[in-house]
Each structure stands twice: as structure tokens, then as C-alpha cells.
């Protein structure tokens, strides 16, 4: 049997066939879970299906009605704004910057041989590794107005307590999401920092650059590529944020923290209008597809 490089000749084609066979089981599961639901959502979004009531038994085809309703709904505008604010605050500013700062700080501490460094690293990771609703729960307690740790500490130093989830819900959510997500950014940047050869810094030192100049001229530019990809990555994942917000504020007070995922959930399961909810979900999937395309273009993954 000849050894051929893949992609050439009949033997290669036969080999491809069995490889495709290897892909089939996973592919069918993924179709069942990703593709089929997407199709289901799109189909249902064109109906007025509901979970209970008349429309549950005999859903009607309503064309674009759900989408029109969505476009003209003032609630949706609020929802979009909230989502935007949350993503920018939590992903772009919070997770990205904090993650970068942590990576730089810990890398520096590592170079200096500070033995506390792995512990700090571990505690940041701890926040990330834990399930989302645990994080929600922990911070509900932290934010509690009368007995939460935050307000207690403020009281300790003589300041008034803040009604975190009441008066500053978006800020609170951003804090918690940053707390959770910074670790991912930190890990990626740490990986990138380690790929910069130390000889570059030595060369810069020989050329006369001070520590600050070395950082500005050599560390940061080499992080730029990774930064773009990481930023997109956290943006995409924050866009779909749901559980955290559900546990902390459930979209409230009122609709002040209602992001798009919650809007869909409430429409489908609280108002029981799964047709309308599907339309929102379809919009989310569409937006996500656009983000994914940009992400693929920017990241140029190795095939």
C-alpha cells in the first residue's frame, strides 16, 4: 500500500472516506444539538406558537409578524442597549483589561521569583473554573444590602452601604462577570508573553532601552495580535451571557439589566410565547454568526 500524502489519488480518496466516517458520530450529535435547533428556531419564529393555550395546540403561520413586533418594540431597544453596555463594560473593559493587567503583573512576579505568584494565579483561576450559578449565588450574598460583605466592609470604614443590585445593577453585573472571566484573558496573554524570547529584551537593554521602554516598545506590540483575538473571543461569549444575570438580577430591577438572552427566555417561558422567543433566539444566532465570521477572519486559525 503506497504512502501518499492526503488529498491525492484514489487511495487518498478511499482514506478520506473512512475519515469522514470517523467524523459522522460526532457530526450527527452536533447536528442534533446545534443545527436542528437552529432550524427549529427559525421555523418556529415564523409561527405564533405558544406553550399553553390555543396557540399551543394549533400554531399558525404568521410570516414575519414576530420579527416586525421585535423591531418595533421599545423593550427591544432597551434590551439591545443593555446588551451593548454589558458587553463593553464587562468584556472590553473588565475582562480584557483586568486579564491583561493580571497577566503582566503575574509574569513580572514570576520573573522576580516571588513565591506567592502561583497562589495569586490559583485564586484568579478559582473564580473562573466555578459554575456560573455558584458565582451568582456568592455575589448575591456579597451584594446583600444589610448583611453582604461589601456593605459590611464599607460600614467598617464608616461609609454608607450601596444598594448594589438595586441602584447599580449593571455595574454589579459587570463586576461579577469581570470577576469570572478575567482568568481566561489572563491565561491567553500569559501564553503570549511567554513566547516573546528573553533575548529580545536583552537586545533592547543593550540598545539602551529602559525597563519602561522595553515594555512599551517590545512587550505591547508583540501582544497586539493575540489581543485582537482575545477581545473578540470574550465579546462573543459575553454577548450570550444569561445565567449570571438570571441569578443576580433576573433582568431587573424592571428591565434595567434585561439583556438579549434574558429577553428571549422571558418571552418564551414566562410569557409562554415560544414563537416570539424563537424569533429573538434566531436574531441572536444571526448576530453571533456575524461575530464568528469576524473572529475567524481575524484569528486565522491553523487548519
Amino acid at each position: 500500500m503506497a504512502i501518499t500524502t492526503p488529498g491525492r489519488g484514489r487511495i487518498a480518496w478511499r482514506r478520506n472516506r473512512s475519515l469522514i466516517g470517523g467524523l459522522l458520530p460526532a457530526a450527527s450529535l452536533l447536528s442534533l444539538f446545534f443545527v436542528a435547533p437552529a432550524i427549529w428556531a427559525i421555523y418556529t419564529s415564523f409561527t405564533n406558537r405558544a406553550l399553553v393555550g390555543l396557540d399551543a395546540r394549533h400554531p399558525r403561520h404568521v410570516g414575519w409578524a414576530n420579527y416586525e413586533r421585535l423591531l418595533h418594540s421599545p423593550a427591544f431597544k432597551t434590551v439591545l442597549t443593555n446588551s451593548l453596555v454589558f458587553v463593553i463594560g464587562s468584556a472590553v473593559i473588565g475582562q480584557f483589561l483586568l486579564g491583561l493587567a493580571l497577566a503582566l503583573l503575574l509574569d513580572h512576579g514570576d520573573h522576580r521569583g516571588y513565591r506567592a505568584t502561583p497562589f495569586v494565579y490559583g485564586s484568579v483561576l478559582l473564580a473562573w473554573v466555578n459554575p456560573t450559578i455558584i458565582a451568582g449565588f456568592l455575589w448575591v450574598a456579597m451584594f446583600d444590602f444589610y448583611y453582604g460583605s461589601l456593605n459590611k466592609t464599607l460600614g467598617f470604614v464608616g461609609l454608607d452601604g450601596v444598594s448594589w443590585l438595586g441602584k447599580a445593577p449593571m455595574l454589579s453585573l459587570i463586576i461579577v462577570n469581570t470577576w469570572r472571566g478575567a482568568a481566561f484573558v489572563m491565561i491567553i496573554f500569559q501564553g503570549a508573553l511567554r513566547t516573546i524570547p528573553s533575548q529580545i529584551y536583552e537586545a533592547a537593554r543593550m540598545d539602551g532601552a529602559s525597563a519602561w521602554q522595553r515594555f512599551w516598545d517590545h512587550t505591547l506590540p508583540n501582544l497586539r495580535q493575540v489581543a485582537a483575538v482575545v477581545l473578540l473571543s470574550v465579546t462573543i461569549s459575553t454577548f450570550g451571557a444569561f445565567l449570571l444575570i438570571l441569578t443576580l438580577t433576573n433582568g431587573g430591577p424592571g428591565t434595567r439589566t434585561e439583556v438579549i438572552a434574558l429577553y428571549a427566555y422571558h418571552a418564551a417561558f414566562q410569557s409562554r410565547q415560544i414563537g416570539y422567543g424563537s424569533a429573538i433566539a434566531a436574531v441572536m444566532l444571526g448576530l453571533n454568526l456575524i461575530f464568528a465570521a469576524i473572529y475567524l477572519r481575524v484569528s486565522r486559525p491553523r487548519i
Partner: protein, 356 residues
């Protein structure tokens, strides 16, 4: 340009058992190309980095132009270092790489441009300046790295095995180029390598190091002909010097296998000796020639302009350099005679040279 002095420098890294550099003392003269030669781990790179200021000695002094530079930041020392892997800034173009040290040192724009033009001309890299290091070949990157050093017009150039990552042909070409450059600029240069051929062809003087200690400091010629100890003798030369055990026999030194040479007159002589002789100092002679001994051929290596014959003399393997038409076959017996001027004697215990 300046001269560099090492005085009893010691450096030990915390996680190692022995010092990397142990009581090292030598001088690099103004305008000289001194090569630090030795096997991996001998301390030559550490010594170089101490001149650069990237490492500091634990004891001893390092002076440039008479002034101690210990504790002085690299940028204050006015020294340029060319790294083994070039360490070009990957995100900057070649031109920006050359510009960087000048910008950092706040040299005027005019002056910058002038220096870059000169350097580009000198190294023939003008057409490469707009490319990034990733788009350059190994040899081109190396010239840009050289350029980055030259552009600074430092008083001393340091090179850490800059040619090791190039293919053989390019390497030999660059050896001549760098040597010519050094002479043109009249630069004081300390060059580290583990390649003895490189050292022999390029150096004004060579400093051979082993295990952190200086073995010998001399011109290539001097060192090749009169190595100070066994280590130097076996390190230089390709193929290296042959070493044979000898024992005394009434005023003569006899090599098991046949040769007998007169013992040198002066005393004291150490108890056990080793005889060294270079491959080219052994003659292939017809059988029966006085002073010759038979040796059994293992294999001949024809190299075009000469032949290296590997033989067994007594119990030792010896390599002989002969004219290209002499091609004995494995198993054949040939007769070898040592040339008296080529005999070197070393103390078996310490390795030191004791006479000829």
C-alpha cells in the same frame, strides 16, 4: 576603540555546583579580534555577557579602557552585542531595527540617516531595509543584526556565536566578511565560538576556556604549534592531535607499538607522560626506514587534496595526514615515522605541556 581587561573574575550561578567562570584573567587589546573558544558550558558566553553587562561577576574586576564597568548598566558601557539567534525585533522592519538604538539614545535625525546609509552600504543590506525579520533569510537577518551593532558605533563589539545558525557555506563566507569588517573599522571585538576552525581563521588571538578556566591565550599559530596543555592540543586541529602513551626506557621514551624518541634533557620530568603529535607530523615511509614502526590500517579517508589514514599503532588509534595518492587499504600494514619537530610531551596527570 578600547581595550578590555578581566582580572580574577569569578562567577557562579546559584543552582550549579561549580563556578561558570573561575579566576579568569585576560586582556583584549585595542583593535584586536579575540576569540573565546571552548566547548559548551565552558564559561565563554558567561564571560562575554559579563563584558556586556547582562551578568555581573561575583568577584574580580572587568575594565574597559581602564575604567571598571562592574555594576554599570549595559547602556552606559557603550558596547554592542550580536546574539546567537540575532534577537531582531520581530514587529519592526529592518530599518526600524537599525533605528531603534539610535532613537533610544536620542541621536539626531540627520546623524541617524547618515549612519544607517553607511551601515547599509557596508553590509549590502540596503535593499532589505523595508522588510521585517520574518521575511529575511538567516544570513540576511544576521547582517541586519550586525548592522544594528555597527550603527551604534560602540567602542567594543561582542559576538555570541553569531555564525552557528548558518549553513556551512554561508558560515565560511561570513567569517571572512566579519574579519574584513573588523579590520576596516579597527574595532575591538570579543567573539565567542565553539568551532575551532572559525577561531583559527578569524582570530588575532584565541583564549581557550574549559570549565570556567582559561587554558591558554595566544595567537592561533602559537597555540596550534605549542599548545599549553592536552585540552588545547586536542581541541584545535581537525583531525585533532594524536595522543599516545609513552614510558621511559634508558633515556628514551618508548611508545608501545614501536617509536622511540630521545627523552628531553632538562629535568625534572614528571613520572608519566603522554606524547602528542599532529597528523601532518607523521610521515608514511617505506618499510625498513630507521625510526619507523609498522601500523595496521583501519580505514583511509580521501578528502581530495589529502588523505587521512586511520591506523592502529601498538594499541592506540592514530590518524595520519598524507598526500592524496597514498591510499592504503584496511588491513594493510604501513610504516610511520614521527617528525622530531612535531613531538610534544604532556604530563599525564595534569595535562600540562612539558617539552618537545
Amino acid at each position: 576603540m578600547a581595550e578590555i581587561q578581566f582580572e580574577h573574575v569569578v562567577k557562579q550561578f546559584t543552582r550549579q555546583a561549580t563556578p561558570a567562570v573561575d579566576d579568569l584573567s585576560f586582556t583584549v587589546n585595542d583593535g584586536e579580534l579575540l576569540i573565546l573558544l571552548g566547548p559548551s558550558g565552558c564559561g565563554k558566553t558567561t564571560a562575554l555577557r559579563m563584558i556586556a553587562g547582562l551578568e555581573e561577576p561575583d568577584a574580580g574586576d572587568i575594565r574597559i579602557d581602564g575604567q571598571s564597568v562592574v555594576g554599570v548598566e549595559p547602556k552606559e558601557r557603550d558596547i554592542a552585542l550580536v546574539f546567537q539567534q540575532y534577537a531582531l525585533y520581530p514587529h519592526l522592519s529592518a530599518r526600524d531595527n537599525l533605528l531603534y538604538p539610535l532613537k533610544v539614545q536620542k541621536i539626531s535625525k540627520q546623524e541617524r540617516q547618515q549612519r544607517i546609509d553607511q551601515t547599509a552600504e557596508l553590509l549590502k543590506i540596503g535593499h532589505l531595509l523595508d522588510r521585517k525579520p520574518g521575511q529575511l533569510s538567516g544570513g540576511e537577518q544576521q547582517r541586519v543584526a550586525l548592522g544594528r551593532a555597527i550603527v551604534r558605533q560602540p567602542r567594543v563589539f561582542l559576538m555570541d556565536e553569531p555564525l552557528s545558525n548558518l549553513d556551512a557555506k554561508l558560515r565560511t563566507h561570513m567569517r571572512t566578511e566579519i574579519k574584513t569588517l573588523q579590520q576596516q573599522l579597527g574595532a575591538t571585538m570579543a567573539f565567542v565560538t565553539h568551532d575551532q576552525a572559525e577561531a583559527m581563521t578569524m582570530a588575532d588571538r584565541i583564549a581557550v576556556m574549559n570549565s570556567g578556566r582559561l587554558q591558554q591565550l595566544a595567537t592561533p599559530d602559537e597555540m596550534y604549534r605549542f599548545p599549553a596543555n592536552l585540552f588545547v592540543a586536542e581541541f584545535l586541529g581537525s583531525p585533532p592531535m594524536n595522543t599516545l602513551p609513552v614510558h621511559r626506557q634508558n633515556g628514551h621514551l618508548a611508545v608501545p607499538g614501536g617509536w622511540s624518541v630521545p627523552a628531553p634533557a632538562h629535568s625534572p620530568m614528571p613520572e608519566s607522560l603522554v606524547l602528542g603529535i599532529r597528523p601532518e607530523a607523521i610521515e608514511v615511509v617505506p618499510s625498513g626506514t630507521p625510526g619507523a614502526s609498522p601500523a595496521s590500517v583501519i580505514v583511509s579517508e580521501p578528502l581530495g587534496s589529502e588523505v587521512i589514514v586511520n591506523v592502529t599503532l601498538g594499541e592506540t588509534m592514530v590518524r595520519v595526514r598524507t598526500a592524496p595518492d597514498i591510499r592504503p587499504r584496511p588491513g594493510e600494514l604501513i610504516h610511520l615515522r614521527p617528525h622530531p619537530d612535531g613531538i610534544r610531551l604532556f604530563d599525564k596527570e595534569t595535562g600540562a605541556y612539558v617539552g618537545a
